[in-house]
Every structure is written in C-alpha cells, then in structure tokens.
C-alpha cells in the first residue's frame, strides 16, 4: 500500500479534529501529534465507518472522509465537546 500524500495527511488530521477524534490544538501551545495518538484516532474513525481498523490513512479511509455525513462530532469526549462549548 502506498503512503498517503502530505496533503491527505493534512486533510485527514483536520477531519479527525473536526469530528472529535483528535483534540483541537491549543493556540497557546506548540503541539505535536504523536504517531500513536494519530493511529488510535484513525482506528476509532475506521470503527465508526465500518472500515478495517488499520490505523493508517489508507485509500478507503480517505475516501470515507469525503463521504456525506452529519456535521456533529463522532467523539463527544473532551475533544468533541470543545465545539459544543464554543457554541
């Protein structure tokens, strides 16, 4: 399997943040996402989408991220609730 492009990774991380799988970065902090955290977030997303849980931004995962969907976050933990609090 080919590696995802930098653009796909960037879009994927944005998507994962938007729907609550990754925490929204704190503007006051420089934050690096560990590969493990990213892999775990992708796995949860894949579970929601009914995809094989590879933990990789593979082709099917990226395609699924482009599917029509509900705007609300999937994970209503601390990450997902940030958007609700903002509202």
């Amino acid at each position: 399997a080919s590696e995802p492009s930098a653009q796909d990774v960037s879009l994927g991380v944005d998507w994962l943040r938007l729907y609550g799988y990754l925490p929204t970065p704190d503007p006051a902090q420089a934050q690096l996402q560990s590969p493990e955290k990213l892999r775990d977030a992708i796995k949860v997303m894949q579970r929601f989408a009914g995809l094989p849980e590879t933990g990789r931004l593979d082709k099917r995962t990226i395609e699924t991220m482009h599917k029509p969907r509900c705007s609300l976050p999937d994970v209503l933990g601390p990450a997902g609730l940030v958007r609700r609090r903002r509202r």
Binding site: Y19, R47, F48, A49, G50, K59, R60, E63, T64, H66, K67, P68, R69, C70, S71, L72, P73, D74, L76, R83, R84, R86, R87
Partner: protein, 416 residues
C-alpha cells in the same frame, strides 16, 4: 450507541418547520409529513409525544430549518455533499433540539434511483441527536455518522436495536400492556411524484448485461450511461446505488431529445464534463449545462461524424475521440485538433474496434469497454495488459462472476 449526556425533562415535545428547502422536489407539505414521520419513529419506541406547532409566533422545542453556509451556529454548511445536517442536543438553551439541514443538498424522498439525499433518513438521524443520542458505530444504527442512503418506507421503518437501546436508556420503554400501547397514527404521506412527467417509461436496464453507451471517470467516480439512465461507481468501488439514476434529472439542461449519451469525459484543466450524442456535444460545469450544443467539428472531426468513445489521457494531456477503427486527437491546451488524424485504432495494441467507451481509472490505467468486457492498458501504456479482456461485472458493477452475461458471445481476443 452513545449518549450526549443531556435529555429532555418532559415527554411532550413541540416542533415546527421554520424554513423549507428553496429548490427541492419536496413541497412544504411533504417536508412536514416527513418530519412528522421521522419524529414518530422515535416516539413509538419511547412514548415521547411530538406536537407540531404552526404559528410562527409560538415557541417550539425542535425548530427545523433548511439553511445554507454560515447560519449563526458553529456548524456552517458546505454546499452539495460533505456535511448534510446537524441537530443540537436537548437542554435549556433556545437552540437545544433545533435541527438544521443543508439547503444546498438535493433533498429527495422515495427516489427510486439513488439520486439526491433521502430527507427522511437524514431527519431520523438528526432527531436522534435532538433527543440526546450521539453517533453510534453499530452497523445497523441510523446514528452512524455517514449517510447510508434511503431507509425505505417511513410508515414501515423501525429503529435498530442499538438505537432503541440508546433511546430507552434516556426515556424508558413504552408501556407494554395492550391498553396502554401508544397508537401510531396511520399517516398517509402525500407521496411525492418520484417520476417527472418526462421520465423514461422504459424498464430499468440490467447493469450486469454491460453494453453501455458511455463510461466516464468524473472526479474519481465512474459513470456508466445506458439509454436515459446512468449508474455511479464511487472511488471506493461501491455503486452509489444498484438502481440507475435518470440522466435528464441529473444533467440539468441536457435537451430532452437527447436519448443516448454515446461518449463522455471530464476535460483536463477546467474539469468541465462533455457529453456526446450524435454529431454534437454539450459542456457541463458540475451538473449544469453551459451554453448550447456544439458540433464535433470543433474537436476536429468531419461534419456529421459521431464518436463511439472519448477520453482524456493524463500522460500527454490530449483528448482522444474514437469512431470505429479510427481515432482523432485534440489538444485542449491549444484548443485545436492535432494534425495528422484520424489514425488507425490498432496503434492502441489489442484495443477492440468501436469501443463502447474508454476511460482512465483512478490508478492511471486506461480501460476500453465493449459489450460486457473491458481491456486494460497499464498506466501510460498503449498495449493491453496480458490478462485482457476481462468481464466488467465483478470488477466494476457488483455483478456475479460465474454467470456474468450468459448470452454474451466470446470476447474478441487481443491482437497478438
């Protein structure tokens, strides 16, 4: 299932549709009926009662809006596709329970062709949020975050066990004694006409028979045209629907006298989509027609000529137009046909003559289609792959392999 953490403290909830879709096949009465049905789906499992309020001045717990782009909340809509709708969890805030649908979606109900987005299915999902449910990862749950397509008749639809469990965790079960069982109003929705007056009367063709009029890769999706119908194959390899959509309802502005799309392709550079029929072609931006019909002479073909196939080849940026055993080449960048054409199609080694159509797949391979078979040209190559031809059905159309097109004659073997 997942719970949002908030719940309504009352068992009778009011609702009102505050704004209706601006351009939709669904009139306000149908929209209201569908909303009523979608709420009832949740009501019958929980004993919650939903009352519609009609006055604009009356407060409602669940206010329903069709809105575009930024609409005063944290979830701006993004036009066609992408995000479809959202709803706010229960609570004391005025916005709690409110449900918003993206007005730029093509909302449908009872569509037989998989076209558009089924309003009832999305409404059931969103009202789940409005009652306090989060997204679920259960396979049959209506609360899965991704749009799963229509869910069938509103009066027959029943929530999955996962959804019922989540709802009943919040509001309890309905009374089970016969006398206490809530009755469900026999709502007879005014079923919208799913067939426009000019809809084709011909039966829906069998996609597994192959022999398509045209096939095109449009932004990663493969479109298969046959008569007044077409199917769409997503980049993931899944059909949008096994039922075809109607060409004239999707390609807005295509003249009604055009009954067959003989070739189609997405133009490099500006992404316009060209549909060919007879000695003319039409240019579409997204789904909308741009301008009038144009003659094929513009692309370098002799007057009155028609094409069997058209495709844009990414390896030289040129457009190829095939008729019978000949092909022409057009330079999109220079907006003129290349000199020295037509040439013999045998330069594409192993290609079938007069293919139904040709398209370049997402992997870069070029595919010639004819009848029920396809010929693959590996990325950048003008020589067929050794395993060509192959039956189309299993790879492209979710059709079974063994008995695929039993009446199709033996495919022509590639020229050695």
């Amino acid at each position: 299932y997942a719970l949002s953490g908030s719940v309504w403290r009352k068992r009778i909830l009011t609702w009102r549709v505050q704004s209706f879709p601006q351009s939709s096949l669904l009139n306000p009465q149908i929209v209201r009926t569908l909303m009523s049905y979608a709420l009832t789906v949740w009501g019958v499992e929980s004993g919650l009662t939903f009352q519609e309020v009609n006055s604009q001045h009356q407060e409602a717990d669940i206010l329903i809006d069709f809105a575009r782009a930024y609409h005063q909340d944290s979830y701006p809509f993004d036009g066609l596709g992408g995000t479809l709708a959202h709803a706010f969890f229960p609570g004391e805030h005025p916005i709690s329970g409110d449900t918003h649908f993206d007005d730029e979606e093509i909302w449908t109900f009872g569509s037989q062709d998989g076209e558009g987005t089924d309003l009832f299915a999305v409404a059931v999902h969103e009202f789940g949020h409005a009652l306090g449910l989060g997204h679920s990862s259960a396979p049959n749950s209506i609360m899965r975050p991704f749009y799963q397509g229509p869910v069938g008749d509103p009066d027959k639809y029943r929530l999955s066990q996962d959804d019922r469990d989540g709802l009943q965790q919040l509001y309890g079960k309905v009374p089970q004694t016969p006398n206490d069982q809530p009755t469900r109003k026999p709502l007879i929705p005014p079923r919208p006409s799913v067939l426009p007056p000019d809809s084709p009367s011909a039966p829906v063709p069998d996609r597994c028979e192959g022999s398509f009029d045209a096939i095109a890769n449009i932004r990663g999706e493969t479109f298969f045209f046959k008569g007044p119908w077409f199917w769409r194959l997503q980049p993931s390899g899944q059909l949008v629907s096994p039922r075809p959509a109607r060409v004239h309802r999707f390609w807005e502005g295509l003249p009604s006298h055009v009954r067959v799309i003989q070739a189609a392709y997405a133009r490099r550079g500006d992404g316009r989509i060209l549909l060919f029929s007879g000695p003319q072609f039409w240019v579409f931006r997204e789904r909308q027609l741009e301008g009038a019909a144009r003659p094929l002479e513009e692309l370098g073909l002799p007057p009155g000529e028609v094409v069997d196939a058209a495709f844009s080849w990414p390896f030289n940026g040129k457009t190829y137009l095939i008729r019978g055993q000949q092909y022409w080449r057009y330079d999109e960048a220079a907006s003129r046909p290349d000199p020295g054409y037509p040439r013999d199609l045998s330069l594409w080694e192993g290609a079938p003559p007069a293919p139904d159509d040709v398209t370049v797949g997402n992997t870069g391979d070029t595919f010639f289609f004819k009848g029920a078979h396809y010929w693959r040209f590996p990325k950048g190559s003008v020589k067929t792959a050794p395993d060509s031809p192959q039956p189309m059905g299993p790879k492209w159309l979710d059709c079974p392999a063994p008995d695929f097109v039993p009446h199709t004659p033996e495919p022509r073997k590639p020229t050695p």
